[in-house]
């Protein structure tokens, strides 16, 4: 691997493109062991677990023939390595098994919930981005000033507050106290609004959970933007711009800001797992019909196929998002591919 890389590098700077292409191939291949590891861990969970899923579904003191039928139906009568292979082959086909409780495809059950969580997470990220970037710029403009200290302190407090608690606090303030927003759900109960009114209804419902979920991302991004900008402001190209008489705010926003923004992509990608974990508790507080609520109900009914399906789908999406952010980062900054 190293020889190949130096060989590629030896061919000179003109071939930066092939270095990048090599990086893309190498980085993409790296996800293979990770993906296999996830499947293996999911499989181990079920087989190390005590208790019998057939008993859980069919109930005790039943007909042995019925138990045998259920065992065969779910493939539980085969050897463990055989079951692992079957499991792998199934997942490769996109088949995550059948829910013990609902009796239908786990993947379908999970996919039904994805839009709600995507809407919640997307709105939360948008909220975080829209507010964090200007706040970060304001804080970085005069480091260690009163304004900077206040912004940093608030950001660190938001970073420390649990999402489920923030969710309850925004409900107390804005839904129960000021009565501006609805307390729960994704749409108004009993409402048959369509078109624009339906969209507005959902927008009104998504705002509070998105703020509660986005608060921590906001905090991370404020800190990142601020430190990135302060680093950038010490560089030569900034000194040159200042020497040319460019106004300070223009230096900050036009010269330093775009370069300080690059790590943001990586961090947003790397925090995908945190975002989904936060979404899980926020969804439970707000009764939001997404993946978190699905996790909660699957826990109560011991629906292992759904639990494992969630584990696999979420892990896979984190892997894919990490890959995408790494590739985007390498496209922006070719030094990554060389390093």
């Amino acid at each position: 691997m190293h020889e190949l890389r130096s060989f590629v590098a030896l061919r000179g700077h003109g071939d930066l493109l092939s270095v990048t292409r090599w990086y893309v191939v190498r980085r993409t291949l790296q996800i293979v062991p990770t993906v296999l590891g996830i499947v293996l861990i999911a499989f181990l969970f079920v087989h190390l677990a005590p208790g019998d899923p057939v008993m859980a579904v069919a109930g005790e003191h039943g007909d042995p023939a019925y138990y045998a039928f259920m065992r065969e139906r779910f493939g539980l009568d085969q050897s463990v390595p055989r079951q692992l292979l079957t499991y792998l082959a199934r997942i490769a086909r996109g088949d995550l098994g059948t829910s013990y409780v609902q009796g239908r495809s786990t993947l379908a059950i999970i996919m039904e919930r994805v839009p709600a969580t995507a809407l919640l997470g997307g709105t939360a990220l948008l909220f975080a981005l829209v507010f964090s970037l200007p706040l970060g710029v304001v804080a970085a403009r005069h480091p260690d000033s009163a304004r900077d200290s206040t912004i940093s302190a608030v950001a660190l407090t938001l970073f420390s507050a649990p999402a489920f608690w923030l969710a309850q606090m925004v409900i107390l303030c804005f839904a129960l106290g000021l009565r501006i927003f609805p307390v729960q759900g994704m749409t108004t109960a009993g409402s048959d609004a369509t078109g624009v009114h339906h969209v507005l209804d959902i927008a009104r419902h998504v705002l509070l959970p998105a703020v509660a979920l986005g608060a921590q991302e906001l905090a991370v991004l404020v800190r990142l933007t601020r430190s990135g900008l302060i680093d950038e402001m010490g560089r030569d190209h900034i000194r040159t711009a200042r020497a040319k008489g460019v106004r300070e705010i223009v230096v900050l926003v036009r010269h330093a800001f775009p370069r300080a923004l690059a790590p943001t992509i990586t961090v947003v990608g790397a925090r995908m797992g945190h975002l989904l974990a936060g979404a899980a508790v926020v969804e439970v507080v707000f009764g939001w019909p997404g993946l978190g609520r699905l996790l909660f109900s699957a826990l109560e009914t011991r629906d292992t196929p759904v639990l494992l399906g969630l584990f696999i789908v979420i892990s896979f999406s984190v892997v894919v998002v990490n890959l995408a952010t790494d590739l985007i980062h390498a496209a922006i900054d070719p030094r990554i591919a060389l390093g």
């Binding site: 208790g51 200290s149 489920f164 409900i171 129960l176």
Partner: protein
Amino acid sequence: MRQSIPALHSADLVPARAVPIVALQRRSAVAAALARPAGRTGLGLLLVTLTLAVVAPAFVRTDPFALSGSPLAPPTYAHPLGTDALGRDLLSGVVHAGGASLLIATAVVLVAVACGASIGLLAGYRGGWIDDALSRAIELFQVMPRLFVVAIVVALFGPGVDRVVLTLGLTSWPILARVVRNEVLATRHIEFVVAAEALGASPTYVVWRVLLPSVLPSAAVMVGLLFGQVLLTEASLGFLGLGDPNTLSWGLLVGESRGFLRTAWWLAVFPGLAITVAILAFNLLADALSAALGGR
């Protein structure tokens, strides 16, 4: 060859002046961290948290499980934080829940430090295919959604402190391993390490006495952040009812408040505030230490 040089002392390996400087730097980093406003505030909040969780239980004698007042009573002199739906004193609950949350977090961090430091040191020091393999392992454990993994473990194996600690510990180490590995890779070929090896120091000696001290500062920052993260996840588990049902924890108290948000705001506000203060303390300390070490 390596065994042929007897009785190596650290003074033989490192230039005479370097030892006090390294020691001095480490001591002054802690001092500099605590001299910063963030460090002082963090230390203050940590003391508040410890007082609340460790000292206060000796003074707040009300049994957190005893029915001691009318149900859902707002804060009064007799019950400064109010009572819950069964008339149990919330102050007593918050005070007695703290110990469990902090103990679990400490145990998790210990597991994570043990795994993360050894794997990071091994990967960074050995390099080659070992590093490649361990890096894949780090990535695998890093992409696993911690909350969902613990949820599955609790659902499959039943609730219990032991499995929560183990699962959280075994899924929390990657970030630490990554930092340690990168730090080792960065120091691996600096003169004082090469000099120690040239003098015949054993790999164990190089790792424990030469590399580990230089990794400590950045690892300490990570441990502080990790503490906050683990407290957060532990609280989320308690909130979702996945913690040990027989142990009071702050997350559990907030979780129990879920049905009473409309009628009893105090049930959600105070335990959540305690969690936030505890996590903020660790984040502030980590922040101050990181700033004192030259980061931002």
